[in-house]
């Protein structure tokens, strides 16, 4: 009995440093944001209060809905492409590259783009995709097009392209990790039982990599939904997502309104993750 109590105490003591850090750097700031979201603001000051006007304005404005739909659109598109690319790359690495050395080499190759900063990787697309950029000049010289293609840059296309470029690795890593832990004898057994390659992929590998996919999905979806800089730069400031709405508010000193938007965004993301987690119990399958 005493031993059990000690165990419980030791357990609490062991998690307490982490808990303390999370409490100070995560829970308290979020509480602060929640409190400020009920305050009022004039052009140059914020006034402690308890009013719902920030939320009323947020839910009453058609911009909010456009912007949230836009945010979801970017998240879904980016997820689709990062998943297709990430899954293929991980599959190739895990099942087609035989030796461990080469697996490690190829995996490191995937991380090379991460040696420069996110922002530089994103901005380097601009001269590439521009009206007189490399992509357009190449296409014209090959005779594929006569006139430069305009939608390559400052469009939804360029936004999603940049997102996919930046975030695909977040999909590759967890999927690769779960794939490596699949017991190879399961695949052998499936093959012995007469399953085709496609059947093995669909009925054996895909279900077993679900936790990896889910972790990758959470990474990608939360990162895309919280972003504001990529959307601003790659769309040439022409489209907005929730992050931009918040950053606009902050730059105009409308902290309460920014907080209210942030709280709604936070809840939205939590709901999305909650739904995702209903499909897969990550803890059970890890």
């Amino acid at each position: 009995m005493k031993l059990k109590l000690n165990n419980a105490l030791a357990g609490w003591l062991m998690v307490s440093p982490l808990m303390l850090v999370l409490l100070i750097f995560l829970v308290l700031p979020i509480l602060m944001i929640l409190i400020v979201s009920f305050w009022r603001a004039t052009e140059y000051s914020i006034i402690p209060d308890f009013v719902f006007e920030n939320y009323e304005f947020l839910f009453g404005s058609p911009v909010t809905y456009t912007v949230f739909i836009n945010t979801f659109k970017y998240a879904i598109l980016t997820w689709t492409f990062t998943f297709l690319i990430g899954f293929t790359v991980a599959f190739f690495l895990a099942f087609h590259v035989r030796s461990l050395t080469w697996q490690v080499v190829c995996f490191l190759l995937c991380t090379i783009p991460f040696w420069t900063s996110n922002i530089i990787r994103m901005i380097s697309w601009i001269p590439f995709l521009g009206r007189n950029g490399i992509a357009n000049s190449a296409l014209i010289s090959w005779g594929v097009i006569d006139e430069p293609v305009e939608w390559l840059l400052f469009s939804d296309f360029s936004v999603v392209l940049a997102f996919v470029h930046i975030y695909t690795l977040f999909m590759v890593v967890p999927i690769f990790n779960t794939m490596m832990r699949i017991d190879r004898s399961l695949i052998e057994a499936a093959r012995d039982a007469g399953a085709s390659g496609a059947q093995i992929l669909w009925n054996v590998i895909l279900p077993l990599t679900k936790p990896g996919i889910m972790i990758g999905t959470i990474f990608v979806v939360t990162l895309v939904m919280g972003d504001f800089f990529t959307v601003r730069v790659m769309s040439g400031s022409q489209s907005a997502n929730v992050g931009r709405l918040i950053s606009n508010d902050i730059s105009l000193l409308q902290y309460p309104s920014a907080s209210a938007t942030a709280i709604v965004l936070l809840l939205t993301v939590l709901i999305v993750i909650g739904i995702l987690l209903r499909f897969v119990d990550i803890r059970k399958e890890l």
Partner: protein
């Protein structure tokens, strides 16, 4: 929102030298503060935050300037919310309208400013020349004076208590790529001309962008504003209606928020006509790309920067701040800024620090006789070049409106967000 701090690094040796010079005290400029280690923290929009100025201020006055530069919104925010974080606020007049009522700045006693009488009329009576008309918007003289030392109001006459002293200002217009347009551009309405579909841009800073929009709407003949600088809700709706439709029709290639973005858009040919700032034009030209700061029939949209004193300043620090401001207006800084294409508050004194050719080119609108070189030593124009728009009087005399903060500012900002999301 990148902030960077500039501090003039000075060795003990230079400090000693200045000290000796002070002790010698021959004609050592007004007064030297080196011994007292006065540090003034200047925060602001970065347009005038040059290391060269800080360095020269230390040499001449012995005052150490710590300059922090940020975008206009951040600067306004800082002045309004962190009154103890700066000694001198280097902001713009429209920001002054927003932040002055907070009481975080103190008024300046005009009798302590040596060159007060020589400050350009635009900042005192509002009239550049006795016959000029006062432009719409937040004209600097309307927020340039207050009722007394601790006044938080604005008064419309020269009360002897200034809110800001003007530092630099300029007249803005559209920038164009003449080589890609190949025809004369004379009106603001060209920004929305379908001929430039997908090749136009406007700046994504609401308080400035709305004024450019208003210039365009008036030029198109769609509407004549009683006061562009203070629109009603209906006028704001009308303006954004026209621009939202243009945006949906694909008129704009992009919007820009930072100086570099505007330079890149123009230099790469993504955009051939856009709202632009004067030094950005120079930056495009220095890449060998032709670019013109096109004077337009309807006139210019102007802006003015000014420095204010923090309310917390007192005693020796306040004296030092006055000393710094008097030095600022005494000419060296003016010459330095005029050679970048800006105007200084006291043009007369700047003349002493510029060559005749420089003065002729930048101020009088005359053809350059030799190469025009920036203070940093880069060649800006060759002999024979004439400044776009001509002389100081031609350019500043044709100001149609000033950057503004409207009574309906919050409504306008919300509409701006809608416009971006549309």
């Amino acid at each position: 929102m990148t902030n960077f701090t500039k501090r003039n690094g000075l060795s003990r040796r230079t400090l000693l030298k200045t000290g000796v010079a002070a002790a010698a005290g021959t004609l050592a400029a007004p007064m030297l503060w080196a011994q007292s280690n006065i540090v003034l923290r200047q925060t602001g929009t970065g347009v005038s935050a040059y290391n060269e100025i800080a360095k020269k201020a230390y040499e001449d006055l012995g005052i150490t300037l710590e300059m922090t530069a940020s975008d206009s919104d951040t600067a306004a925010q800082r002045v309004a919310t962190q009154p103890n974080s700066f000694d001198i606020a280097d902001i713009e007049y429209w920001i002054c309208k927003k932040v002055w009522p907070t009481g975080n700045l103190q008024a300046m006693d005009a009798s302590r400013l040596k060159n007060y009488d020589k400050i350009a009329g635009t900042f005192r009576s509002g009239k550049l020349t006795p016959t000029s008309e006062i432009a719409q918007g937040t004209a600097p003289h309307t927020v340039g004076f207050t009722s007394g030392k601790n006044g938080t109001d604005f008064v419309q006459e020269e009360s002897g208590w200034m809110t800001l002293i003007p530092t630099i200002y300029n007249a803005d217009t559209l920038g164009i790529r003449p080589d890609l347009i190949n025809r004369p551009i004379n009106n603001w309405s060209e920004l929305l001309n379908p001929e430039f579909r997908g090749k136009a841009s406007i700046l994504d800073i609401s308080s400035i962008g709305i004024m450019d929009m208003a210039m365009v709407v008036e030029s198109m003949g769609e509407y004549k504003y009683p006061d562009k600088g203070n629109m009603t809700k209906a006028e704001i709706d009308l303006t954004f209606g026209i621009f939202t439709e243009a945006k949906k029709n694909g008129q704009f290639r992009a919007f820009w928020k930072s100086f570099d973005e505007s330079v890149n858009l123009m230099a790469s040919g993504e955009v051939v006509i856009q709202s632009m700032w004067s030094p950005a034009i120079t930056a495009v030209r220095s890449k060998g790309v032709p670019c013109v700061y096109q004077p337009l029939e309807e006139g210019y949209r102007s802006w003015g920067g000014g420095m204010g004193l923090a309310a917390t300043l007192e005693g020796a620090k306040l004296d030092a701040a006055y000393e710094y401001i008097n030095w600022y207006l005494s000419g060296w800084v003016g010459g330095f800024l005029m050679r970048q294409g800006y105007y200084s508050a006291v043009p007369e004194t700047s003349k002493l620090f510029m060559s005749d050719d420089e003065w002729g080119f930048w101020y009088e609108g005359k053809a350059a006789k030799g190469d025009i070189v920036s203070p940093q030593g880069t060649k800006m124009e060759s002999a024979g070049a004439i400044r776009d728009g001509g002389s100081f009087i031609d350019r500043m005399g044709a100001v149609a409106c000033w950057n503004s903060v409207m009574d309906e500012n919050q409504y306008m900002v919300r509409k701006w967000n809608e416009f971006i999301a549309a």
